[in-house]
Symmetry: C2
Subunit: 216 residues, 2 copies
Amino acid sequence: MPAQAKVQASSARPAAPATPPLTERQEARRRRILRASARLAGRGGFDAVQMREVAESSQVALGTLYRYFPSKVHLLVATMQDQLEQMHGTLRKKPPAGETAAERVAQTLMRAFRALQREPHLADAMVRALTFADRSVSPEVDQVSRQTTAIILDATGLDDPTPAQLSAVRVIEHTWHATLITWLSGRASIAQVKVDIETVCRLIDLTSAEDARSVP
Amino acid sequence: MPAQAKVQASSARPAAPATPPLTERQEARRRRILRASARLAGRGGFDAVQMREVAESSQVALGTLYRYFPSKVHLLVATMQDQLEQMHGTLRKKPPAGETAAERVAQTLMRAFRALQREPHLADAMVRALTFADRSVSPEVDQVSRQTTAIILDATGLDDPTPAQLSAVRVIEHTWHATLITWLSGRASIAQVKVDIETVCRLIDLTSAEDARSVP
DNA sequence: CGGTAATCTAGAACAAGTTACAGACTTGAT
DNA sequence: ATCAAGTCTGTAACTTGTTCTAGATTACCG
């Protein structure tokens, strides 16, 4: 185990744990790496993101790449964080129109789904990395999870979710990832994905209705 | 691409596609490999299943191992098929006691969950392989999916599920895998897993109620 | 039984993730 | 401006999944 201080992700995230601030050049390196990663993933998916090539493509030595991102999975999960942030920004701009929370969430997720469809290889690389991640990547995966939760909660319009609603959101999130993977590996059609997303989203209305009933 | 005929899985599965029958020694080899795979996975999880070691441990040459299972992921997915079959057998013996279908499914899944808990490393290896699998493993992954669906449908007691119910079952299945992974990577407690499983299982009752209403 | 095609073995070779290391470059404090 | 500590670079080495090859062995057919 090397005793060097690990460079951690840092950007517009609010609750970042004690991260030594990066210099401008370091921030620039980090961005170059993430950009190269996304570009390569956009071509052949997970396998096309080769660490040597990422390093070369972002004009950074291999050792440096590993200092910034301690493994390929870390790199791809960070890439996903990055893309999710952008997506959250985009989705915020056009809030979903729907009667029920379920409709709004389903609509938002399908919108996100279509965005990812445009770059299926990139989506593949990111989601595979996410579900393949082991304990050593937990903090980063958690961060992605929080970001996704935020997107879903945004769509519901809820601002003080109950535990039951949070559970529903987690289930929706899981379903979103799983359907994405299933579609990416060609085992489900878009139509089926849509149906399943809509099915799971009803859990939001279900839990909301019950909470309303039990707190008169 | 090698032009050799690929040896395919074959055991008590009903709808196996044209698979040349294996000789006794071949069947024995296949079992030795699966046993070694499960044993190694039971120790260190995904990483501990090293192809050379599986080969050595099952007294088979590396090339032969690859003839039976064309990649590590194929091997682990096949291992999962194998374990699932056993588990389905076990679960059948004690049908779940519960008022609603949702309760019975949740109970069955938690029972399966506890079974996997006993060998967390093995579970880790299998589920990680399952979600990491790419298109080339689709048939095998589909088979695992069908097996899981069968377990869930068994628990519901339904014998002629509607499309809406099948969608609910898929969502439940996805949630089961995802919660398993989340628990295995230490990002969720058993309590949370239980809550989420119970949450998603209500979809079964929900869809059943609606189908009943629309077909008076 | 004899022959032939398929299968198996042992081991080398290759690919990509990861680690190690020596020397050059930056940064920050004095 | 200078020095010490920390970073970055270039490169080689190591690990493990995967492929390849040549030569045994086995299974099957007449």
